[in-house]
C-alpha cells in the first residue's frame, strides 16, 4: 500500500500547513494494569471500566461500536450482495417470480453470446485508446510543470478540474461537439475544407469519442499524481547525473522513470480498474436508443461496453441471473488484466 518516494510533505508542497509529519508510531493507549507509558498507577476512568473489570472483549465495546457502522453497512450492502450475485449466476430469475436453478447454463450461454464478446472487445479497445494517451500525456505534463517554478499552482488547479466534473455533463458536452452534422469539431473540419465525419455513427469514431472523453477527464489527475512523485525525487540525483555528463533524455529514462515506477504502477492499476468499468459515457451518449434496442450502445453496438450490456440485461430485460453471470465473468477478467499489468511493470523493475 505504501509507495515510498512520496511519503514526506515535500511531495505535496507546504500548502496544508497543519498536517504534521508522522511523529513516531503512536503507542496504543489502552488503560491497562501493566507497565504503561506513565509507569504510575493513574487509573484512567474509561467509559467502559466501571468497578470490577468486565470480561475481555466487552471491555472494548466503545471501539467496536465506533467501527460497527462501516462493517454493518458493508455486510448488508456489499459483502452479502457480492456473494448473492454468485448464487444468482446459477439461477434463472426475473426479480419477481420464482427462481430456477439452472447450473452452469448462464455461463454456457455467455460463452456463446456474440454480443457479450463484442462488448468485451469494445471495452478493451476503449480502455487502450484512453489509457495509453492519458498516462503518456500526464507524464509529459507532470515533467513540464516540474521543470518550472512559475504558475504551478494555477496549472495544478486547471489540470485537476476535469476530474471533479460530472461525467454526465461531460458526456453531453462531447455528444454536442462531436455531433454528426452540427458539432463544433465538424465545423472546424469544414473550415479547413475537410469533409464532415459522422463521429457518432462509425464503429471506430464512436470508440474514439468515448476514449477522448475519458482521456480529457483523467489526464490532469494523473499528471498531478506524477508531479507529486517527481517532486519527491531528490535533486542531488539529478545533479550527480548531470556531472557524469548525462543529457536530459538519458536522465529521464535512467533516473526519473525508474524512481517513478511505483507511482506508474499505481496509476496503471487504477486506470485499468476504472477504465474497464466505463458505463456512464456510452449510457448517456446512446441511452435514448435503449428503449427500442435493448442491446444498443450506438450504431453497430460500437459503444456497448460490458457494464452497459450488463445493465441492459439486468435492469431493462430483468434477466438477473444472466446479469449476475456477466458481471462476475467481467470481474474475473478485470482481475486477470490487473495481474498481468502488475507482472509486466514489476518485471521491468528487476531489469536494471
Amino acid at each position: 500500500m505504501s509507495s515510498s518516494p512520496v511519503a514526506g510533505p515535500a511531495a505535496t508542497g507546504p500548502s496544508s500547513g497543519s498536517d504534521t509529519a508522522p511523529v513516531g508510531r503512536p503507542v496504543p493507549d489502552r488503560p491497562s494494569g501493566g507497565p504503561g507509558r506513565h509507569g504510575r498507577r493513574i487509573r484512567p476512568v474509561s467509559a467502559g471500566a466501571r468497578p470490577g473489570p468486565p470480561r475481555r472483549v466487552t471491555r472494548y465495546w466503545p471501539q467496536y461500536l465506533a467501527i460497527s457502522p462501516y462493517y454493518l453497512l458493508f455486510s448488508v450492502f456489499m459483502f452479502f450482495p457480492v456473494i448473492y450475485t454468485v448464487y444468482l449466476a446459477f439461477q434463472k430469475w426475473d426479480g419477481i417470480g420464482e427462481m430456477h436453478f439452472v447450473g452452469f447454463q448462464q455461463f454456457r450461454f455467455l460463452w456463446d453470446d456474440p454480443v457479450f464478446w463484442l462488448s468485451v472487445r469494445n471495452t478493451l479497445v476503449i480502455w487502450v485508446l484512453s489509457t495509453v494517451p492519458m498516462l503518456f500525456l500526464a507524464l509529459v505534463l507532470a515533467v513540464l510543470v516540474n521543470s518550472t517554478k512559475r504558475f504551478t499552482a494555477f496549472y495544478r488547479v486547471a489540470l485537476f478540474i476535469p476530474s471533479i466534473t460530472s461525467l454526465v455533463a461531460i458526456a453531453i458536452f462531447f455528444g454536442a461537439i462531436f455531433s454528426n452534422n452540427f458539432g463544433l469539431i465538424n465545423a472546424i473540419l469544414r473550415s479547413v475544407h475537410v469533409s464532415a465525419v459522422p463521429w457518432m455513427s462509425n464503429e471506430w469514431t464512436i470508440k474514439l469519442v468515448i476514449a477522448a472523453l475519458m482521456t480529457w477527464q483523467w489526464t490532469g489527475y494523473n499528471a498531478i499524481i506524477y508531479l507529486a512523485g517527481l517532486q519527491a525525487i531528490p535533486s542531488e540525483l539529478y545533479e550527480a547525473a548531470r556531472m557524469d555528463g548525462a543529457g536530459p533524455v538519458r536522465i529521464f529514462f535512467s533516473i526519473t522513470i525508474p524512481l517513478l515506477r511505483p507511482i506508474i504502477l499505481f496509476t496503471v492499476v487504477v486506470s485499468t480498474v476504472t477504465g474497464l468499468q466505463s458505463f456512464t459515457e456510452p449510457q448517456v451518449l446512446f441511452g435514448s436508443e435503449a428503449a427500442t434496442n435493448p442491446n444498443s450502445g450506438g450504431p453497430g453496438q460500437a459503444g456497448l461496453t460490458t457494464l452497459l450490456y450488463f445493465y441492459h440485461q439486468a435492469f431493462d430485460n430483468n434477466d438477473f441471473g444472466y446479469g449476475a453471470a456477466i458481471v462476475w465473468a467481467f470481474f474475473l477478467l478485470i482481475l486477470l488484466i490487473v495481474l498481468v499489468n502488475w507482472r509486466l511493470v514489476q518485471r521491468k523493475e528487476r531489469r536494471p
Binding site: 500500500m1 505535496t12 500548502s15 496544508s16 498536517d19 509529519a21 508522522p22 503512536p26 496504543p28 493507549d29 488503560p31 493513574i42 467509559a47 472483549v57 471501539q63 467496536y64 467501527i67 457502522p69 462501516y70 462493517y71 453497512l73 458493508f74 448488508v76 450492502f77 450482495p81 457480492v82 448473492y84 450475485t85 426479480g95 505534463l141 521543470s147 518550472t148 496549472y155 495544478r156 488547479v157 486547471a158 489540470l159 478540474i161 460530472s166 461525467l167 454526465v168 455533463a169 453531453i172 454536442a176 463544433l184 465545423a187 469544414r190 498531478i224 499524481i225 458505463f279 449510457q283 448517456v284 435514448s288 450488463f310 435492469f315 446479469g323 458481471v327 462476475w328 470481474f331 478485470i334
Partner: protein
C-alpha cells in the same frame, strides 16, 4: 548570450505547451456557456457562434418547462448533504478507534477494510436493488444515502491523519480527567482532525453530487430524480435542443466546479496524498 537565449526559449515553450493543456482542460466550460447562452439555431449554423449570446434566460425557461429542475436539485442536495455528514461522522469515529486503540481483531478488521476497497460496486448492485425492494426503499433517497453512509476510503484516510495529527498527550490528559472514548472523540479528536475532515467532506460531497449509476438504478420514480439522472434523461429526450440542455448542464454542474476552485489548492494536495498512501 546564445545559451541564455536558448534557455529562455525553452522556458517559454514549456509554458506554451502547459497553457495548451490548460485550454483543453477549461475549454468545455467555456463552450457550455456559449451553447447555453445562444439559440439552438445559432449552434447549428455555420460558422458557429463562438461568443456568449443573450439567450440564456429563454433557454432556462424552456429548461424549467421540460424538467423539474428544482425538485431534482433539492433531491441532489439532500443526498449529498446527508451522505457527507454521515460519512464524516462514522468514518472519523471508526478512524479514531483504529488509530489510537488496540482491541482484539483490529488487524484483521482493518486488513479486510483495505482489501475490499477496490471491489467493483457493480458486483453487488443486483442484490442491492432487491434489498431496496424488500425494504420498500426503492425510488427513495434513502436507497442512495444509507449504503453510502460509511466507506473504507474515508476510514483509511482519517486513520492516517488521526494517528499523526492527534497528540497522544492530549488524549492522555482527557483520559485523566475521566473522559471516555466518545468524549475524547468529541472534545479532542474532532477539533484536531478538522483539516482532514475538510478534504473528506469535499470529496464525498462532489462524489455524491456527481453519482450516476446508483441513482439510475434506484430512483425508479420519474418525478423523484437527482440532477445527474434528470439531465441524462433530458438529453436523451431532447438531444437536438442543445441550448436548452446546456442551460441545464450549466446550472447543475458549473456552480460546483466554481465552488471547488476556491478550495482547490489544499484539496489537490490532500488528494495526491490520499491516492499515494
Amino acid at each position: 548570450m546564445n545559451g541564455l537565449n536558448r534557455k529562455r526559449v525553452r522556458g517559454l515553450s514549456v509554458h506554451v505547451i502547459l497553457m495548451l493543456g490548460v485550454v483543453v482542460s477549461v475549454f468545455p466550460f467555456y463552450w457550455i456557456v456559449v451553447m447555453a447562452t445562444n439559440t439552438s439555431q445559432d449552434i447549428y449554423s455555420y460558422p458557429p457562434k463562438l461568443w456568449f449570446g443573450g439567450n440564456l434566460l429563454t433557454n432556462i425557461q424552456h429548461l424549467f418547462d421540460k424538467m423539474d429542475f428544482f425538485g431534482s436539485l433539492f433531491n441532489t442536495v439532500i443526498v449529498s448533504v446527508c451522505t457527507t455528514l454521515l460519512v464524516l461522522f462514522f468514518d472519523s469515529l471508526a478512524a479514531f478507534a483504529f488509530a489510537k486503540y488496540e482491541f482484539p481483531g483490529k488487524k484483521i478488521l482493518f486488513a479486510l477494510l483495505v482489501s475490499m476497497y477496490l471491489l467493483p460496486t457493480q458486483l453487488a448492485i443486483i442484490p442491492q436493488y432487491e434489498i431496496m425492494v424488500q425494504l420498500g426503499w426503492l425510488g427513495t433517497l434513502k436507497a442512495l444515502i444509507v449504503p453510502a453512509a460509511a466507506n473504507a476510503f474515508g476510514i483509511f484516510w482519517m486513520r492516517q491523519y488521526t494517528s499523526s495529527g492527534v497528540p497522544d498527550e492530549l488524549l492522555d490528559a482527557a483520559r485523566i480527567e475521566g473522559a471516555g472514548f466518545f468524549r475524547q472523540y468529541w472534545h479532542v479528536v474532532l477539533p484536531c482532525v478538522r483539516p482532514a475532515l475538510a478534504f473528506l467532506g469535499i470529496y464525498t460531497f462532489i462524489a455524491a453530487w456527481n453519482d450516476y449509476v446508483l441513482p439510475l438504478v434506484m430512483l425508479v420514480n420519474p418525478d423523484r430524480l437527482t440532477l445527474q439522472v434528470a439531465l441524462a434523461q433530458l438529453y436523451a429526450g431532447h438531444s437536438t435542443d442543445y441550448s436548452m440542455v446546456m442551460a441545464g448542464v450549466l446550472l447543475a454542474v458549473i456552480p460546483l466546479v466554481l465552488v471547488f476552485t476556491f478550495f482547490a489548492r489544499g484539496f489537490i494536495a490532500d488528494a495526491t496524498k490520499g491516492a499515494l498512501r
